[in-house]
């Protein structure tokens, strides 16, 4: 519909919209994150919800302890190999539509701890990530920026066609395989559906 006509009608008190716009408008303004802190970044996440940065402006202050009531998982910190199965399990328990923000260097790639034997080198080896925010830890402003990026992403989602969200696609897979702790490493070391590169499990020669 013509934008000018829409504005003119709006002045007359008639709101014209599409279902998609209305739908996405509702979704993007009430993203409820899961109350789920992993490490250092969680403190900045808490700081973001407090008075100074006030995440409530984005309709996202309602932190839900249960994954079943949450729309957004903020991976706020280092995911260790011991924790990764639980993170994937929590993600599986979330209802669609669900989004993931990888907050901070550790959640993206292992960050400063990437050499660690017990550190998962990026959560996107197991679950899809929508927004990555760099930083160690990212400032609260960066988390707000990630929220805005996520809102833009939601706004641009069509309800039909190839780019439609997973929950409107009957063939989409909802469950993601949960890795199992093995004798030396997690098995498998990555989910080939989201992370197409094979990673050798077990150990190779010593690093130089």
């Amino acid at each position: 519909m013509d934008e000018h006509l829409k504005i003119e009608l709006g002045k007359q008190g008639i709101v014209v919209t599409t279902l998609q716009e209305l739908y996405n408008w509702g979704r993007r303004n009430s993203i409820w994150p899961m109350q789920f802190g992993l490490a250092c970044c969680a403190i900045e996440m808490i700081a973001t919800t407090m008075a100074r940065f006030d995440m409530a402006r984005f309709g996202a202050e309602v932190f839900r302890p249960s994954p079943r009531q949450a729309d957004l998982m903020i991976i706020s910190g280092t995911v260790t190999k011991k924790m990764a199965p639980q993170v994937v399990r929590l993600y599986n328990q979330m209802a669609e539509p669900r989004y993931v923000i990888a907050m901070g260097a550790c959640a993206i790639s292992g960050g400063p701890f990437k050499q660690g034997y017990n550190v998962l080198k990026g959560i996107d080896r197991y679950i899809p990530v929508d927004v990555h925010i760099p930083g160690c830890p990212p400032r609260p402003e960066a988390l707000l920026e990630a929220f805005m990026a996520l809102q833009k992403k939601i706004d641009a989602q069509p309800l039909t066609g190839a780019g439609r969200p997973r929950f409107l696609d009957s063939e989409a897979r909802g469950e993601f395989p949960i890795p199992v702790p093995g004798e030396h490493d997690l098995e498998p070391a990555s989910n080939r559906g989201v992370w197409p590169v094979e990673i050798e499990t077990g150990t190779k020669g010593p690093r130089d």
Partner: protein
């Protein structure tokens, strides 16, 4: 005033005959010398240190493990050898100095280090240590958790990361790694998983390794699921 480590050693030997405490000097500027306990008498010595009215080490601050791997020592030894030589047509036995390169393996051990303080007397630290016989099969040390409960989680951690078995510990399980894990990661010879992405850096050897690394193709790969969308 706290006695010196030598005085404490003498006090232990006077109280527990045959304790066999050894003095381990610390050459660094901190000069925190330590006492090496024998596993057989360690619990009795620890009890004495805690209960003695003057020492009163009632507070166990820190427990940790140290790995001392087997060391191969290459040394040149001058040896006397008797060789038979023909001098002026006559066979003679001559002593000769020959330099030999000898290799010997100095057996390693695992070590548990305890730092003791006294809350009652406000002194410390006293460092005591125990050593295992080797690093493979004879790795049992007595647990000091019955004396100081503060050691409970820390000894579990040493068991997890170094593989020292503490006999008499009430609940010796892995604490940081998962139960199925097989290795002891803090040992010096632990081979770490090589599964992280290498950053392109200015160091040639890292860059070369990064290009050869399987994760190097990630840049093109991770785009794939975004393009295709995850179905």
């Amino acid at each position: 005033m706290l006695k010196t480590v030598e005085e404490i050693k003498a006090a232990i030997e006077a109280a527990i005959p045959g304790a066999g405490v050894e003095f381990v000097p610390n050459p660094g500027p901190a000069a925190e010398h330590s006492l090496l306990l024998r596993p057989e008498s360690a619990v009795a010595v620890a009890k004495f240190l805690r209960d003695d009215a003057e020492l009163a080490f009632d507070y166990l601050s820190n427990v940790t493990g140290v790995d001392w791997p087997d060391k191969e020592i290459v040394e040149k030894v001058k040896a006397m050898r008797i060789t038979t030589k023909t001098v002026d047509g006559v066979e003679q036995q001559v002593e000769e100095t020959v330099e030999e390169t000898r290799k010997r393996i100095e057996p390693g051990c695992l070590e548990a280090v305890y730092h003791l303080y006294s809350v009652a007397k406000k002194h410390g630290p006293l460092v005591i240590r125990m050593r295992t016989e080797n690093r493979t099969d004879r790795v049992t040390l007595p647990s000091l958790t019955p004396i100081w409960r503060g050691a409970e989680f820390q000894e579990r951690e040493v068991f997890d990361l170094y593989g020292i078995v503490f006999a008499g510990h009430p609940d010796l399980r892995r604490i940081l790694m998962w139960e199925e894990f097989k290795d002891h990661p803090m040992r010096k010879d632990f081979v770490e998983p090589d599964d992280y992405e290498y950053e392109p850096t200015a160091h040639d050897h890292v860059l070369k390794r990064a290009q050869a690394h399987p994760a190097a193709v990630v840049a093109s790969g991770s785009q794939r699921w975004r393009d295709e969308g995850i179905r």
